[in-house]
């Protein structure tokens, strides 16, 4: 296997989050290990929001679990506000990063009123007690757009969207420096999703919260996140400014992912870029670029040499792990007929 040296990301002290060469493997048997994420480096400036997108098995949730300290990486470091944090964290470090889960139906204790939950949480972290804690709870609910009378009710009295607001209020209660949201809208109904996305965008603008949003919903990421990282089979294949990446993707996987999203308000495009096959198992990673067996742009080099995540010429802050990242992006669209499925 060729040695891959990813271009180092500058570790700025002002970063809310900086992930450096993170690798996570899981044991599968006496001699086998599955590499869930490999050599992932990311950087998030304070007050910024980063979307992590990719399909199932790409490692996005494992990355989120590492960031919040639920998963110990094999290698690599995670810095929150410049401080290195391990998987074992003290109360202070746990407070710094909060996770919002996908399913608001299972993430709230059904037997506790919202008020009791928030008051207990504030007391546990020594943030407020007694009347102060109640006052703070009311403020938190107002912050996420819920009425104060919600405090006396149980989670069962709320709809999915309202529960997700409660989960966000709970995350905000401990004044975290970073919020990690793992698919925060995918369990919600279509008409409700926008309200939660709006809330995240609003919190980002109003409180200057740093946010990592994991999602397979590209449109949602585009609305909330300043920057986006696209993952495929455990690696970041493209990273950059969200608007720019979506407007001018330089990795063929990013392009096909964007192309596969069905649009509601526009007619389907006349020419579709259809990927053949499905993401391969991380157990049988293809040689070279792991995307090459599905890639409409692949050439001989792609099955031999793995492209590193490198800057794209003429695009600031953009990196892509493709040998052809500097080529005319339109060249990617020319689809050989055998790439058209069906």
């Amino acid at each position: 296997m060729t040695e891959i040296v990813a271009e180092e990301f500058p570790i700025e002290t002002s970063s809310a989050l900086s992930v450096d060469s993170l690798t996570v493997t899981f044991p599968l048997g006496p001699r086998r290990r599955l590499t869930a994420i490999e050599d992932v480096s990311l950087d998030l400036a304070r007050g910024d929001s980063l979307g992590i997108v990719g399909e199932s098995g790409c490692g996005k949730t494992t990355l989120a679990r590492c960031i919040v300290g639920l998963q110990r990486p094999d290698r690599g470091t995670i810095r929150i506000d410049g401080d290195v944090v391990g998987a074992k964290r003290n109360a202070q470090e746990r407070r710094a990063v909060q996770l919002v889960f996908q399913d608001p139906y299972s993430s709230l204790n059904p037997r506790m009123t919202i008020g009791a939950m928030l008051v207990q949480l504030l007391a546990t972290h020594d943030l407020a007690r007694g009347p102060d804690a109640e006052e703070r709870s009311r403020e938190l609910l107002a912050l996420v757009g819920l009425p104060a009378d919600a405090l006396t009710r149980h989670p069962g009295a709320f709809s999915g969207g309202q529960r997700q607001r409660i989960a966000i209020a709970r995350a905000l209660a401990v004044e975290p420096r970073l919020i990690v949201a793992d698919e925060p809208v995918s369990a919600l109904d279509v008409s409700i999703q926008a309200t939660i996305l709006e809330l995240f965008a609003d919190l980002r603008d109003r409180l200057g919260i740093s946010l990592v949003m994991i999602s397979h919903n590209l449109a949602a990421v585009r609305h909330v996140c300043d920057r986006v990282a696209v993952m495929y089979l455990g690696k970041v294949v493209e990273v950059g400014d969200t608007q720019e990446v979506f407007a001018d993707p330089r990795h063929p996987y990013t392009r096909s992912l964007l192309n596969a999203v069905p649009q509601v308000k526009r007619p389907p495009p006349a020419h579709r870029l259809r990927l053949v096959g499905e993401p391969p198992s991380p157990l049988s990673r293809p040689t070279g670029c792991s995307f090459h067996p599905r890639c409409p742009r692949a050439e001989a080099i792609c099955s031999v040499e793995e492209p590193a995540l490198l800057s794209v010429e003429g695009l600031t802050m953009r990196k892509a792990a493709c040998h052809f990242r500097n080529d005319d992006p339109l060249a990617i669209i020319t689809v050989p007929p055998e790439a058209l499925d069906g």
């Binding site: 109904d189 590209l218 585009r222 992912l257 069905p262 649009q263 526009r266 993401p279």
Partner: protein, 332 residues
């Protein structure tokens, strides 16, 4: 326009919750022609899946058919009872959201796909096996003869859904019912499965009834669409026209609420309020508490689904809307 292959008239289904019952599907009517795809879109609890199950005579125990007729090729189908499934066998098939629940985990997929040719069509063991391989090839499983020996857990999600579709096609049905068959799949795989269903529709002349919460998916696949809210059809018409120029405030609200990839950033317009509790539906039009156009009339009587007065209906499909103020709905 060809005569409808499936015709549903005034279908009504009630569901029990505790000691109470509520109407989950409320007098809905629509039809699907051979070689056509018809979509029903709605959010959770809209009754879209129950509609499919009623057509398939697969209603869950808590649900009860209260009325309506289902015509297949002009002939009325028994709604329930012993004969109901037999009448559908070989004519109607269904594909579910989760292909794993449709497949037996301990049997090879080839055997499972061969089951319908063998036991329903009465083919020989060898013929059934050959037919299974043929069907697996038809749904785009590479190297079908070898893959027939695989177990479901050895396949990816997209491949499992292809196998489930192959099983559904076993008895050469004329109507394929799809209950969110791509929701559990990744977006690039979803695109492949949508292409497959579209190909089967064209090549086999299948009538496809496709239920989804995803307007984009329905737009890709279905020529016509009905929008469902709290058990009622609130709008119906050719998909592209309906999404371009909705005539029901709920459809418009949905269009505003969903985010497309090329929408301007920062403009999110969710529908206010929440889906109502089906046991306590608002009076009149059940959407009126969330509707910006609601007047007193809307809380008093249920607006019927009627052809638009302006009838800017093009082609062969008519536009219908269940709103007293359908002419006031602004273009998105």
């Amino acid at each position: 326009m060809s005569t409808p292959f499936l015709e549903v008239r005034d279908l009504t289904v009630s569901v029990a919750r505790g000691d109470e019952r509520f109407v989950a599907v409320d007098h809905i009517s629509f039809s699907v022609s051979a070689g056509d795809a018809f979509g029903i879109v709605g959010e959770s609890g809209s009754g879209k899946s129950l509609t499919l199950r009623a057509i398939m005579a697969l209603l869950p125990g808590s649900a009860r058919l209260e009325g309506g007729t289902i015509l297949l090729d002009g002939e009325e189908l028994a709604a329930t009872g012993h004969g109901a499934r037999a009448e559908r066998r070989g004519r109607v098939a269904m594909v579910f959201q989760d292909p794993l629940s449709a497949l037996n985990p301990v049997r090879k997929i080839g055997e499972q796909v061969a089951e319908v040719p063998r036991h329903v069509l009465g083919r020989s063991r060898r013929e059934s096996h050959e037919r299974a391989i043929e069907l697996l090839g038809l749904v785009g499983i590479p190297d079908p003869a070898r893959r027939a020996e695989s177990y479901p857990h050895q396949l990816s999600g997209g491949m499992r859904q292809r196998v489930a579709i192959a099983m559904a096609l076993g008895a050469e049905p004329a109507l394929l019912l799809c209950d969110e068959p791509t929701t559990a799949l990744d977006v690039t795989v979803q695109a492949q499965v949508l292409d497959l269903i579209d190909k089967l529709r064209v090549e086999l002349g299948l009538a496809v009834l496709f239920v989804s919460h995803d307007l984009g998916v329905v737009r890709e696949l279905c020529r016509d669409v009905a929008v469902m809210y709290t058990g009622r059809l609130v709008e119906k018409g050719p998909t592209a026209e309906l999404l371009q120029r909705p005539h029901h405030p709920y459809t418009l609200g949905l269009l505003h609420a969903v985010v497309d990839l090329d929408d301007p950033v920062g403009v999110l317009r969710p529908i206010g309020g929440a889906l109502p509790d089906p046991l306590h539906l608002p009076s009149g039009c059940s959407f009126h508490p969330r509707c910006p156009l609601a007047t007193e009339e809307c809380s008093q009587s249920v607006p019927p689904l009627v052809p638009l007065a302006s009838s800017d209906s093009l082609r062969d499909g008519t536009r219908e809307s269940a709103c007293f103020h359908s002419d006031l709905v602004e273009a998105p």
